[in-house]
Each structure stands twice: as C-alpha cells, then as structure tokens.
Subunit: 307 residues, 2 copies
C-alpha cells in the first residue's frame, strides 16, 4: 500500500535575480519525496546517485519514511548535476550545465519490497526508463502519474507516446501540452492528449496555476500570488509530490479528490519557491500547510446569487 517515486536525485547550482547557490540537493524525486512525505510515511524511492551524494540528506529522507532500497549508489561516480539561471520573470531559465554522470547508467530495478506499490509517480526521466519501471511491477498500481518534458518530445516522441499510453495521469506544462498535441487551445490540446491514453491530464501554467482535465470536466487551481518567487526550481516536482501524497494518504482517486489534491500540490509548490532548494519543504509544519490551504479557499471562494 505504498507510494513509489522514481526520478532524479541530483545536485543543482541555481542563480536567480535574488541570489545564487553553490551545489545544493535537488532532483525530481528529491523534491517529490520531500513534498509527499508531509502526507504519507510510506514512500519508496527509485533513483541513482553517486558516492558524492551526502549521507545526511539520505538520512533526512529516511527519517521521513522514504525507503532507499531502490536507489542505486555508484560509489566512485558523481551524481547528476544541473546548473541554471532564472530571469526576472522566473518563467524562463537558461541551462548552464547538464552533467548526466550516473544518470547515463541508470537501469532502474524494482526491489521485491516495492511490489506492493499502489501509487506510482514517474518523475521526468527517459520515457523508456519510465516504462521499464511500470513493466517491472507485477501488479498494476491503482494510479500511475507521469511527468515528462519537451526534450523527450523533440528526440523520442514515439517512445514517449508508448509510455504515455500506459499512464493514468499525465503532467505537462502549457508549452509541452501544445507541442504534444499540435493544438494551441489548451482545451483542444487536452482532448487530444487524453485520447493518447491518460484519463486525467494536468497542465501546469507556473505562476498562472494548473488545470486538471478529465473527460469533459475541467478544474482550475490558481497559483498563490506571492510577494517574491525566490527560486522556482523543483516547483513542478513539489506540486506532483503533494498531489500524489494526498491521493496516497486518502486512497481516493475520484475526480473530486483529485481537485483537492491539485490544491494541495499548489500549496506545496507555493512553499518550495520561497527559499532555495528543498529548504522550505524541510521546515514547514502541518499547521503551515493548513493555513496555506485556507488561504487558497479564501483566494477562490465566491458566492453566486444573481437571479
């Protein structure tokens, strides 16, 4: 009855208009696990790291209930490293360095102890690796949620489509939804993408919120209007972690509960951008989360009584 999260665990070096970091801990599976750990203590990580990945960061996640049996450690090699620079609007970033390092050798193996997986979150990875993970699970999880990016649409579209077909919930941003569907209208794009397989589609629009599509239904979750976005790195993965964390906790995959899950994902994303890296995800409490959720209620709650 657990949540399996697959993705990268990495070092990031980040520059924003507000500051600059040396190498800090990042990666899609790191952000997602920290975020989900506020909702469930039964998380099983699938990733690959080098001998340089700090033991204290592994221990911190283990203390939050994250299992590491599925995390391969290549002792004499380096962890994946990404470096990027954000511009003033925070929606655009330049990648300065991408050192794949251990990621070039990633050949995910699902341990037996992970076979009770009920919820599977596939962070952004090569689509064939995402598929390899699905295929290693003896019983299909109750829900498979998959993140991806435009890079795979450019170089491995057929492979990507094959993996998308196997998933229940696809997560993309607005640009990726347009690229994948060849439709400019997000409503039309959503219909085309759901016809590729996923019953649910989440289109992330960064500071403009997120849309959840299911059949002819649409739900919109705003992003919190923030005084400052300090560092947007990991916001999408944190969003996904909050989303799947809530579904895992409640074991309810109805559209109604997915709406709540999207608001929770948005709330978690609104925290992570307040400081560099995963720092805020480590320090926030259940009360902080509840207060922020109430803020979302106030933000969109209105009465219609015009007749």
């Amino acid at each position: 009855m657990s949540l399996v999260i697959a993705g990268t665990m990495a070092f990031d070096a980040i520059e924003t208009p507000f500051g600059k970091t040396d190498k800090i801990i990042g990666g899609s599976a790191t952000y997602a696990a920290w975020s989900a750990s506020h909702f469930t203590k039964d998380i099983k990580q699938v990733s690959i790291i080098g001998g340089d990945f700090p033991q204290e960061d592994i221990d911190a996640l283990k203390n939050r209930g994250v299992a590491f049996e599925g995390v391969e450690v290549l002792k004499d090699e380096k962890s994946f490293f990404w470096s990027g620079k954000y511009h003033m609007d925070m929606n655009n970033r330049d990648t300065l360095v991408t050192d794949l390092n251990v990621l070039e050798k990633f050949n995910p193996q699902i341990p037996d102890s992970y076979q009770d997986c009920e919820f599977l979150m596939l962070g952004n990875l090569m689509p064939s690796l995402q598929r390899q993970i699905i295929n290693q699970l003896k019983n299909r999880p109750k829900l498979i949620i998959m993140d991806t990016m435009n890079f795979w649409m450019d170089i491995a579209m057929d492979d990507l489509l094959e993996t998308i077909k196997m998933t229940d919930v696809l997560l993309v941003n607005d640009g990726e939804a347009r690229q994948l569907s060849n439709e400019f209208s997000l409503v039309k794009a959503a219909q085309k993408i759901m016809a590729m397989g996923p019953k649910y589609l989440i289109i992330k629009k960064g500071e403009h919120g997120a849309l959840l599509f299911h059949g002819s239904h649409v739900f919109f979750a705003p992003a919190l209007p923030l005084e400052e976005v300090f560092d947007p790195t990991g916001a999408g993965d944190t969003f996904a972690g909050g989303f799947i964390g809530h579904l895992t906790r409640t074991k309810d995959i109805s559209f109604e509960n997915m709406k709540t899950a999207i608001i929770i994902g948005s709330a978690m994303a609104s925290f992570v951008v307040e400081k560099f890296g995963t720092e805020r995800l480590k320090e926030i409490t259940q009360d902080d989360i509840m207060n922020r959720l109430n803020y979302f209620v106030d933000l969109v709650n209105f009465d219609i009584d015009i007749v």
Copy 2:
C-alpha cells in the same frame, strides 16, 4: 441611482488567426454598456461619435436602457477608428491604424439628467478627460471605477496619478501594474498602487484570469478555459461592464460582492471573445449567463478536508 459609463464608441477593423472583419462597431463604452445592460437598464453613456456611427447601433443600445444625452454627435466628422491584428497567442496584437477623428475634440459634458449617477465607470481615455467627468458630478458617486492603459503611463504619468487618486477601483493589466508601480511582483505592485489612492485594484491577466486586491485581501478569478478565443477585442471593457453592472444592480460594494462581480465580469468576457465585436453580447440570454456562472463554480470549487 444610475450607472454612468464614459469611454469611446468607435469603429474597429480586426484581424485574428481565425478571420477578418471590415469596420465593425467597437469602443470601450460600447462593450461596457452592452455587457452592463444584462444587469441594469439604467445606463447613461458619455462619449463622442461622428455622423457615420450607425443609427441602428444607437437604437439597439437605447432599447437596452442606455441613455445617449451625454453622447456628443459631430455630424460632419468621422468616429474614432482603430484597426489591429492579433497573433496566434491572442495576448499580443499590432495596432495597424489609429484614427482619432472626433476623439481629438472630445470635451465631455455631463448632462443634468446624469447627476443622479451612483456608479461611474471611466473607460480608457486621456486621464484629464476622466478627471473632468468626475469633477462635473455634483455629488461624488458611490463608486468610481477607472480603466487606463500603458500609453498614458508613457506620456502623461502625473496626470494619470492625479486621476487615479480620485478613484475607488483601478483596472489595469499585469504589464501596466508593473509599469505603474515599478515592481515585478504583482503582490508588491498592488500594495504600491493602492497607496496611490484606489481602495481596490483589479489586475487583469487575460487568459490567466484576474486578481482583486483590497488591503491585505486577494481574490482570484480564473478565465474560462476556452476551445477558441475568436476575437479578444473588448474583453477588458466587457469584463468591466459586467463587474460594474452587477454592483449597480445589487447596490452592494462590499469586498464579498466584488468577488461575485469579478466572476460575472469574467463570464461576460468569456462570451464576448467567442465571436467578432459585440455580437455575442447582443444574443446571450440570462440563462446563458447563469449556465456560464455555474461553469465557473465547477471550475474552482473544491473541498479541503485533509486533517
């Protein structure tokens, strides 16, 4: 106890990726009046037109309860004309032609029959003209709402600030809010702008919805995810007309009721973009509006119950 709407009544020629019009009826006061006329039948228009403005369009608005005593007609001159072309994303447009024509001679005079004005909407105009209208009203309206644009920030900032100071609700888009405040964060921008005078600030974000600020409160209204935006011309004025129309009808200027008014404005804007010009605003019924409002309720309604 009426609503006075001041602004342009004009001809537009529009090109979008979906089609092209000859000269059709447009102008900020035209869109706002058509939109507001779904909520109140006591609208008093302030504008200037040439002898070329079609009598049937005047009559159609008169039939909706719009008074024309404050609309100056210069029989031998031409109405204001604007022509523009939209690009695929519909958020950017190129102005092809701007013929001010009668607008160069606009010297608004408020008729005595308009002096019962309780709600005043100032569409985008030269800020000194907007101020001239406020100053001609013997009793200050219950609520003054003002639209403006970046053009006046470029060429008449002092004048603009003087007018903004006199208003209750300022309407700008996100780029204009940033330019006016010199702040990138919309939350910070809002605080600075409200310190300039208006107790309420609405920041329109086009397809990304609208934010209403009041003190430390924020409310967010999404834009409806549409299959196609056929022609965005007049969406902002239609939004404003729906907003002030609802406030005029209910005579309730509380923050709570303004939230509802913003949703209504968003609903009206979602109609107007479906066809060229004011066409949709002329044909929709109360049932159409109610159905669309229910769509907004579904779009953002969620339960929070995570403890």
